[in-house]
C-alpha cells in the first residue's frame, strides 16, 4: 500500500505538468483551431523566467575589503547582491531564496505578452492556411525559441532551487495511517496546478468573458454576428494559455533543472495526453494528464519491472504512455472525453 501511495504521488507532479500543458494546448485548439507546436517552448520560456530572475537577483556589487586577504595576498573582493544591499541581509537573502515563487509574478505578465505577441504577430495570419502550415510554422518557431535560449543560457541545465523552507519531505502517508514521505515542493506543485486548473475552469464557467469564449468555441461565426469581437477574446485566451504553460514551467524548475530542450520533451507527451483525453475537451485533457502521469510512475515501479522481467519482456516505463494512447485510439477513436464533430474531417 505504501508503495502504491508513493507511486500515485509520484505520478501527480508529472501529471500536473502534463495536465497544465495539455490544458493550454486544448484551450488554444478549442478557441483558435490551431495546434500549437510551440507550446512546449512556452513552458520552457516560463522556466527560464525563473532562471533569468535568479540571474538578475544575483547581480552583485563588488566591494574591495582591505581587511581580508585572498590566498594571493590581494585585498579580497566581496560580492554583495544589490538586493541584499537594498533590503538588508535578512530580507534580501529571503528574497533571493524565494526566487522561484517570486518568478510567478514576473512570469504572468511576461508570458501573457509573449502569447499575445505570438498570436497577433504570427498565428493570426495562419487561420486560413491549411493545418499543415500551422503545424509547420509553430514548429519552426519552437526551434527558433529553443535555439535562442540555448545561445543565451547555454546547453547545460541550470539549477534553480526551491526556497529553503520547502526543501525536504513530508510524510503524507502518516495522514491516512501509511508511510510515504514525499518532497514538499512536489506537493506544492500539485496544489499549485490544481489551483491553476480550477482557476481556468472557473474563469470560463463563471465570468461573462468566459461565457463568451465558450460560446465562441461552440460557434464562432454566430458569436461574431452578434456583434462581439470574438477574435480579441480568443487572442486573450491564447495569452492565458501561454501564461498557464509558463507558470507550469516556473514551478517545475526546482523539480528538474531547466534546460533548453525541456519543452520539447514535455510537448510530445502533452500531445499524447490531449489525444487520449479527446481533442478539444478541457476536462479530458486534465483527466488524461493526471491518469497518464500516474500510469507512467506505476510502470517504473520495481515490482512492475520485475513482473515484466519474469515474462522475459523489457520494462515498459518509457513507452507506457504511447501504448495506452494506441489502445485508447483503437477502442475509442475520439479519446476519453472527445466530443463528436471536433477534428473529424
Amino acid at each position: 500500500m505504501d508503495a502504491i501511495l508513493l507511486q500515485i504521488l509520484n505520478g501527480l507532479d508529472k501529471g500536473s505538468a502534463y495536465a497544465l500543458i495539455a490544458l493550454g494546448l486544448t484551450l488554444i485548439f478549442g478557441t483558435l483551431g490551431v495546434v500549437n507546436f510551440a507550446h512546449g517552448a512556452l513552458f520552457m520560456l516560463g522556466a527560464f523566467c525563473a532562471v533569468s530572475l535568479q540571474k538578475l537577483m544575483s547581480v552583485s556589487k563588488i566591494t574591495i575589503d582591505p581587511s581580508q586577504l585572498d590566498f594571493l595576498g590581494n585585498p579580497l573582493k566581496v560580492k554583495t547582491p544589490y538586493i541584499v544591499e537594498w533590503f538588508g541581509p535578512n530580507v534580501g537573502n529571503v528574497i533571493i531564496d524565494w526566487n522561484v515563487p517570486l518568478s510567478i509574478i514576473v512570469a504572468i505578465p511576461v508570458m501573457l505578452s509573449i502569447g499575445y505577441i505570438m498570436e497577433r504577430g504570427l498565428i493570426k495570419h495562419f487561420y486560413k492556411r491549411p493545418h499543415a502550415d500551422q503545424i509547420l510554422v509553430t514548429f519552426g518557431l519552437a526551434i527558433v525559441i529553443q535555439e535562442l535560449v540555448k545561445a543565451n543560457y547555454g546547453a547545460n541545465p541550470i539549477p534553480t532551487p526551491a526556497p529553503d523552507q520547502f526543501v525536504g519531505s513530508f510524510n503524507v502517508g502518516a495522514l491516512i495511517g501509511l508511510d510515504a514521505s514525499y518532497p514538499y515542493w512536489r506537493l506544492i506543485y500539485f496544489a499549485f496546478s490544481a489551483v491553476i486548473i480550477s482557476a481556468v475552469f472557473a474563469f470560463l464557467r463563471f465570468t461573462t468573458f468566459g461565457m463568451v469564449v465558450r460560446a465562441g468555441m461552440a460557434d464562432r461565426e454566430t458569436v461574431g454576428l452578434l456583434g462581439i469581437n470574438i477574435d480579441r477574446r480568443f487572442t486573450i485566451m491564447f495569452g492565458i494559455a501561454a501564461a498557464v504553460a509558463g507558470l507550469a514551467g516556473v514551478m517545475y524548475t526546482p523539480i528538474n533543472s531547466p534546460n533548453y530542450h525541456m519543452g520539447m520533451d514535455f510537448l510530445v507527451l502533452s500531445f499524447v495526453v490531449v489525444v487520449v483525453g479527446g481533442m478539444g475537451s478541457l476536462p479530458g485533457a486534465v483527466l488524461a494528464g493526471f491518469l497518464l502521469g500516474i500510469l507512467e510512475s506505476f510502470a517504473s515501479m520495481n515490482e512492475v519491472k520485475g513482473f515484466f522481467e519474469m515474462l522475459y519482456l523489457p520494462s515498459i516505463d518509457q513507452i507506457i504512455i504511447y501504448l495506452v494512447a494506441i489502445i485508447v485510439l483503437l477502442t475509442r477513436p475520439r479519446g476519453l472525453m472527445g466530443k463528436a464533430g471536433v477534428m473529424e474531417e
Binding site: 495546434v35 504570427l122 495570419h125 492556411r129 491549411p130 493545418h131 499543415a132 502550415d133 503545424i135 509547420l136 510554422v137 514548429f139 519552426g140 518557431l141 519552437a142 526551434i143 527558433v144 529553443q146 535555439e147 535562442l148 545561445a151 520539447m264 510530445v268 500531445f271 499524447v272 490531449v274 489525444v275 481533442m279 523489457p314 520494462s315 515498459i316 518509457q318 513507452i319 504511447y322 501504448l323 494512447a325 494506441i326 485510439l329 483503437l330 477513436p333 477534428m343 474531417e345
Partner: protein
C-alpha cells in the same frame, strides 16, 4: 519509359547528369584556395546528399501527394539503419542483403504504424506519427537495448558471427562492400589545382537515388498518384462517392516508409553504425523541412531541398568565430566584434537557429518552396519580356 512524358524524361536525365558529374560540380574551388571550405565534393557529404534526397523523395510521396503530414519519418530511417547493421553483423559485409532487409523491415514497420495512425487525419495524424516516432526512439534508446545497444548505438565488432563472410585474418574491422568493391574506395583525379574525388559509395547511393526518383515519377503520373492527389484535394468527397481512401493512403504511407528504410539502409552501408538519435523527432522535422524547402508535391523539389540543407548545414557548421574574425578583419575593431557577435548566433553551433528561421520564412512567405520561388522568378522574367513586347504592340496598334 513509354508512360512518362518527355518533360519528365528530361528531368530524369537532368538529375542523372547532375548526379554523375557531382564530384566536378560540387568542387568548383581549387583545393588550396581560401574558398575550398565551400567545396562540397567530398565523399561523405555527397553520400549524404543522395541519401537525404531519397528520404525527401519518399516523404514527398506521402506529404506532397496525400497531404498527410507525418512527423515520424525518422523512425523508419532508424529502423532501416538498425536492420542493415544487423545484417552486417550476422551475414556478411555485402550491402545488398542489408539494404533489402532494411527496406522490408521499414515497410512492415510503416504498415503497422500507418494502420493505426491513418485511422485519423489532419492534426491527429501528425500528432500520432510524432508520438510513434518518440516511442520508437524510447524503444531504441532504452527498452530494446539488447537489439539496439541503447545509447551507445549499434556497431559492428570483430567477433560478430558473419556467417557468409570469409575468415577475417587482418584483425581490422571489416568494411562494407558490394561484391568486393569497398564503399569507402575513392579515386582522386588531380587536375591542376583541383582534386576531384570519385567514391564508390557515392555512386551506389546515386544509383539508388536515380531509381528512387524514377519510381517517384512513375507514382506521380500513375492513376494511383491521381487518387492520392484526390485525397489531398477533398477526401470527404471521395468518401461520399463510395471510394475507400484508406488503402490508398496506407499504400502511400508504406511506400514512403520503405523509401526512408532504403535511406537508412544506405546510411548504414556507408558507415556501419546506427544510433537512436537518428530517430529523434528533430530528425523527422528535418525531413519535413527538406521537402517544404524544396517544394512540396513537386518532383525535383525534395531532392533540391535535401541538397540545399545538407550543404548549408555543412558550410555553416564550419564557420566558427576564428573564420568570422578572419573575414571581417578589414573592419574597425568595434564594428568587427559586433558583426561577429551577431553572426556567431547563426553559424557554427548556431546552425539550428538559422534552420529554424529559414523554416519559418519559407512556410510564411514561400509555401511552395524553392520550386515556387524559381517559377515565380521565371514568370516575372517572362512577364517583363512579354510586357516589353506588349508595350511595343500597344504602340503599333493605334497606328493601324
Amino acid at each position: 519509359m513509354k508512360s512518362i512524358s518527355n518533360a519528365d524524361t528530361r528531368t530524369l536525365y537532368f538529375v542523372a547528369i547532375i548526379a554523375i558529374l557531382a564530384p566536378f560540380i560540387l568542387n568548383p574551388f581549387p583545393t588550396d584556395s581560401g574558398l575550398a571550405q565551400f567545396n562540397a565534393g567530398y565523399p561523405d557529404l555527397m553520400q549524404r546528399f543522395a541519401i537525404y534526397g531519397i528520404l525527401a523523395i519518399g516523404f514527398n510521396i506521402l506529404f506532397g501527394l496525400t497531404g498527410y503530414l507525418s512527423f515520424g519519418h525518422a523512425a523508419f530511417l532508424g529502423v532501416g539503419s538498425y536492420s542493415a547493421v544487423w545484417m552486417f553483423k550476422l551475414l556478411s559485409m555485402n550491402i545488398i542483403p542489408a539494404i533489402i532487409l532494411s527496406v522490408i523491415v521499414a515497410g512492415l514497420f510503416s504498415l503497422l504504424i500507418g494502420f493505426i495512425s491513418l485511422r485519423r487525419s489532419g492534426i491527429y495524424f501528425s500528432i500520432l506519427t510524432l508520438a510513434f516516432a518518440q516511442m520508437s526512439f524510447a524503444l531504441a534508446y532504452s527498452v530494446l537495448t539488447p537489439l539496439t545497444n541503447g545509447e551507445t548505438g549499434l556497431q559492428i565488432t570483430l567477433n560478430d558471427p558473419r556467417i557468409f563472410a570469409a575468415e577475417n585474418v587482418s584483425g581490422n574491422l571489416p568494411v562494407t562492400s558490394l561484391f568486393g568493391m569497398e564503399m569507402r574506395d575513392t579515386w582522386t583525379l588531380n587536375l591542376g589545382a583541383w582534386d576531384f574525388q570519385f567514391n564508390i559509395g557515392y555512386y551506389i547511393c546515386a544509383i539508388f537515388l536515380l531509381i528512387a526518383f524514377y519510381l517517384s515519377i512513375r507514382i506521380f503520373r500513375s492513376p494511383f498518384g491521381m487518387m492520392l492527389r484526390a485525397v489531398k484535394t477533398n477526401q470527404t468527397r471521395l468518401n461520399y462517392t463510395g471510394i475507400n481512401t484508406r488503402p490508398y493512403t496506407l499504400a502511400a504511407f508504406v511506400i514512403s516508409g520503405m523509401y526512408a528504410g532504403l535511406a537508412g539502409g544506405l546510411m548504414a552501408s556507408m558507415d556501419p553504425l546506427a544510433g537512436a538519435e537518428r530517430m529523434q523527432w528533430t530528425a523527422s522535422g528535418e525531413i519535413v523541412l527538406m521537402t517544404i524547402l524544396g517544394g512540396t508535391g513537386t518532383l525535383l523539389g525534395p531532392v533540391m531541398g535535401a541538397g540545399f540543407i545538407k550543404y548549408f548545414e555543412n558550410i555553416f557548421s564550419k564557420i566558427n568565430d576564428t573564420v568570422l574574425h578572419g573575414w571581417f578583419a578589414w573592419m574597425p575593431d568595434g564594428l568587427e566584434n559586433v558583426i561577429v557577435w551577431i553572426l556567431h548566433l547563426f553559424t557554427g553551433k548556431g546552425w539550428h537557429l538559422t534552420l529554424g528561421i529559414m523554416f519559418m520564412l519559407i512556410v510564411i512567405f514561400l509555401p511552395g518552396g524553392l520550386m515556387e520561388g524559381m517559377s515565380r522568378i521565371g514568370n516575372w522574367w517572362k512577364r517583363r519580356k512579354g510586357g516589353d513586347e506588349n508595350t511595343s504592340e500597344a504602340k503599333s496598334t493605334p497606328a493601324e
